[in-house]
């Protein structure tokens, strides 16, 4: 039995191969708990992606599981025959039916899962025996999918599925299910740091070895799949099946997880919609280190708006630039400094932004600073820190800015409102004029701005320190590993109660912060 000191961390396309918000969070967690042994299982594309994070000593093992590598399993001779084949076919049919014909979800209520759980259990057993991939590549499976798709009464029948659709969909499902075969040490706590495919090994371990299962969500995985699928070049039946798979898998993750820890209250909406029991959802906010993001000191002499992040359409910088143009008319000296890299694929977006700035006649006041080494200085460079995104989880850029003692003007998306509280202004997304008016009011009132900045730092130190965030998980690991469960009160003040004793232990361990 585990004592909460052995954790299997499951990631998909993030830590330790890719830089970004979730990876930063994982790194903080792993480094923050030097006394816990971490087994990191990373789902990756080809399995050959380089490790871009330096793994600390307590990560005792790292495994990259490729979704797109060669077919896993026992190869020839793994084909199912006779009774085993009939049993698999029946389970797979249930599986397909549960993806395509989900019982209607009632508003706010949890949809019932039509056999998905049982079917996935069956498939997990096969996957562990190394026989699932071969079974899913057989002709029977293809014919079965064609038959299920064209059943009378199914919407997919009207979309006229072709053999090619069946082949594509079956292939995608086969690749998606590969993580089912990954084993998790039975004495560890399985911690999936996103919903979806990363939960598959945890689900298999839960079904077969009763391993405790913790699910953390930053973005809403299902929501991102819905939005991401629009650019895929596949016909409707494939889309219906794959998104059905993600939906059912998401729900199964929510149902099976012993605890779900979203990084903001806002995510709860989707989680409860997806069938998560409210009493098993516990918000653990992201945290920053107030020492790494110290008080920014005096404001710049020229009134400046600072923004930090990736130059990406999801950040809706058009709105920020329009708002800036509006403010320039009132405050001609005002500058806008954009800190952050342009990710691959977003170069065109940056060009569009530059054109927009020129069109509005404010290009001279906008500077693109690129990636910066000292992020804290980027926040300190602004009189006010801005956020114009149309979608966010619990943005690090806001709590980091707050830690630097800067007040913020941000759009009301995701967990932003929870982060900011009453220490900054929150405006509706995609409304440049409202954003401009709110910011102008702050820029004109030096006293209020300074007071809000002070309150911002106080709020971070009280509620969103890295320390509290890591402590929250340390406690949860122990709890899931069978240690006595402490009562959970409404609200999030419980994270504070735990701070002290662990802090000492950490200091003794010589942790990194």
């Amino acid at each position: 039995m585990s004592h909460g000191r052995h954790v299997t961390m499951l990631t998909e396309g993030t830590y330790p191969h890719v830089h970004g918000g979730v990876s930063t969070w994982c790194d903080q967690l792993v480094r923050g708990m030097p006394e816990v042994d971490f087994n990191v299982i990373a789902l990756t594309g080809s399995g050959r992606e380089p490790v871009t994070w330096e793994l600390p000593r307590n990560v005792y093992r790292h495994t990259a599981v490729p979704l797109w590598g060669p077919v896993p399993g026992r190869g020839r001779g793994a084909a199912l025959r006779g009774k085993a084949h009939r049993r698999f076919t029946a389970a797979y049919e249930t599986f397909l039916l549960s993806l395509l014909d989900p019982p209607p979800a009632t508003a706010g209520g949890a949809p019932t899962h039509g056999g998905f759980s049982e079917a996935l259990h069956e498939l997990a057993v096969l996957a562990r025996a190394g026989r699932l991939a071969a079974a899913l590549r057989s002709e029977t499976v293809l014919r079965l999918l064609m038959a299920v798709w064209t059943r009378p009464g199914f919407l997919t029948a009207a979309a006229e599925p072709t053999v090619h659709d069946a082949l594509t969909a079956t292939d995608l499902i086969e690749h998606a299910l590969r993580p089912l075969s990954v084993r998790i040490p039975p004495d560890s706590v399985a911690h999936a740091v996103s919903s979806g495919l990363a939960t598959l090994p945890a689900l298999a371990a839960k079904y077969l070895d009763k391993v405790p299962f913790l699910l953390t969500e930053h973005g809403i995985y299902l929501r991102e799949r819905y939005l991401g699928y629009r650019t895929a070049q596949q016909r409707w039946p494939v889309k219906a099946l794959l998104l059905g798979f993600y939906r059912e898998l998401n729900t199964e993750g929510y149902r099976q997880a012993d605890l779900i820890t979203p990084c903001n209250q806002y995510n709860r909406r989707w989680e409860e919609r997806g069938g998560a029991a409210p009493d098993r959802i516990r918000t653990v906010y992201n945290g920053v280190d107030p020492y790494a993001f110290p008080d920014g000191g005096p404001e710049p002499e020229v009134p400046t708006l600072s923004w930090c992040g990736r130059i990406d359409p999801i950040k809706d910088l058009e709105t920020l630039i329009r708002a800036y143009a509006f403010m320039r008319e009132e405050l001609p000296a005002l500058r806008l400094r954009l800190f952050g890299p342009v990710p691959a694929g977003c170069e065109e977006y940056k060009l569009r932004l530059e054109e927009l700035g020129a069109e509005l006649g404010v290009a001279d006041g906008i500077s693109y600073e690129g990636r910066v080494q000292q992020v804290a200085q980027a926040y300190a460079a602004g009189s006010v820190v801005m956020l114009s995104s149309i979608s966010e989880g619990f943005p690090f850029s806001i709590i980091e800015a707050m830690s630097c003692g800067r007040t913020t003007v941000s759009t009301d998306v995701g967990g932003v409102r929870e982060a900011v509280g009453d220490t900054g202004l929150v405006v509706p997304p995609r409304e440049p004029e409202t954003m401009a008016r709110a910011t102008l009011a702050l820029l004109r009132d030096d006293e209020r701005r300074a007071e809000l900045g002070r309150l911002s730092r106080k709020r971070v130190v009280e509620k969103f320190t890295l320390h509290q965030s890591v402590d929250g998980f340390r406690h949860i690991y122990r709890e899931l590993a069978g240690q006595p469960v402490l009562p959970v009160h409404a609200g999030d003040d419980w994270t504070q109660r735990l701070a002290d004793p662990w802090y000492r232990e950490l200091a003794a361990d010589g942790s990194l912060w």
Partner: protein, 512 residues
Amino acid sequence: MSGSLWLRVPGGDTLPAIPRPRRGGPGDPGRAGDPMDQLAERLDGLIAAAVHPDEIAAVLESDGMTDEHIRLTYGRHDSFGLAEELYARVPRAFPEPEHVPDPWKVSLAACLLRGVVFALPGLAYVLGAPLLEGPKDRLGLPAGTLTLLAGALIGWVWDQTLSHRAYTWLGLGDRAAAGRTLLVGAPAGALLGIAAALTVPGGPPFSYAFAAGQALYVGAATVLLVLGRERVLLAALGPMAAGALLALFTDLPVPVRVGLLVASLLAACALAVRELPVARGVRAGLRRIRGWSGHRPGEGPVRWRMLRGAEEEYGPRGPRIGDSVPYGMFGLGTGLLVLYAALGEVLAGGPAEAVAAPSAVALTLSMGPAEWLLHRFRSGSLAGLRAARSPRRFWLRMLGTLGRCLAAYLVVLLALGLAGTLLWPGAPGLTGIRASTLLLLGAVMWTGLLLQSFGAVRPAAVVCASAALAQSLALLLGVGQPRLVQLVVAAAAAVVLGALVCLLLGRATAHR
């Protein structure tokens, strides 16, 4: 925030293009009408194509619509409620993807170029012929023929295997690993080819030098062909080919012949070396040797390196040797069959004049069109998959495509055979039985390549190797009339391969 591996969309496309409200849209007091109607109208396409109400909720939220706004403007509780109503209001539609890619589109010129590059080295024998002069061997073949054949055949088999390994790495997106494979494999193959040639006694001295050059060339050509440098290889063959053409009309002095042969060989080798990571390979090799003797650098802070792969191995996995060997077997089988087509009658004791060189040349040259037609078949069968609503319908369509492509290949082959027979000085006439053998052999080669391109190389290798074995046995035991044996063996192999194609490729799952 969480990165999906599935649908890796570049940052620019993370958001669906959502039609923006027009000026004076919802929320504008100047415009009358139900805001729900306006919203449904604005998002009509997105709502109609949705697979679930939650998809619409995701779109609404990504559009920046908050629950507060939804309550105020639309009087629904939240985005889910609003989405459900929109989903019910707009009938489903199934838009087709905008552009359907055809990954099998390939330029005919590139394939023809490959065919030429396969056949062109044959001219080296023309250029080198005076150097190989000597008494005819006991079969009545020109001196050194068997030496050269042994080297060529072994080199060919090795390089088929090597190509498969390198192509597999390229398919996995690991060009560096492909380079390493070739860096080790091509020189090894060249050495093997030289060794094979040396084991055949009795050739004139120059034939061994020629065989060594040939082995080196095969290695270099494999590197360049796998890495897609056909044009470069063609340029390297230039001096030799020009010399050979010239030699048909005038008598070139020996030093010029040798010079041209060596120039082409050196050019091919130099160009191949340029494509390979030689320096890095040498460094890695030295490091490995030093690693054997020196201390193990495992004391760093990163423990996972050592523990990786303790129970399960998910790390980089290249082609298994067992997967590559059938490619070599297939190469051996087809190589022998082509050889027998050209020399079978001579080997069986016939007159030396019966060398049916045009058949072998036609088969080699036809590899270009064959490759192109393989792509046409895959393209056609993909179109069949996309059009068919049932596996049976697909099977019928596949058979149609198969028939068309095979017929086209055989027509090309026959034309090449006829042209070769007419142009080749002193070639035996293309009689009915020779033409049938040629066409049947062509069918065996093409269907074998087809199976190989679908990954079913094992049955293809078994059939071709068995056919070659049967013919060798018949030859050794002196059973039957050689031409008849060839015809029967080729026909049997063609029938078996044809049946295998219909059986294996009729399954839609073979076409993934």
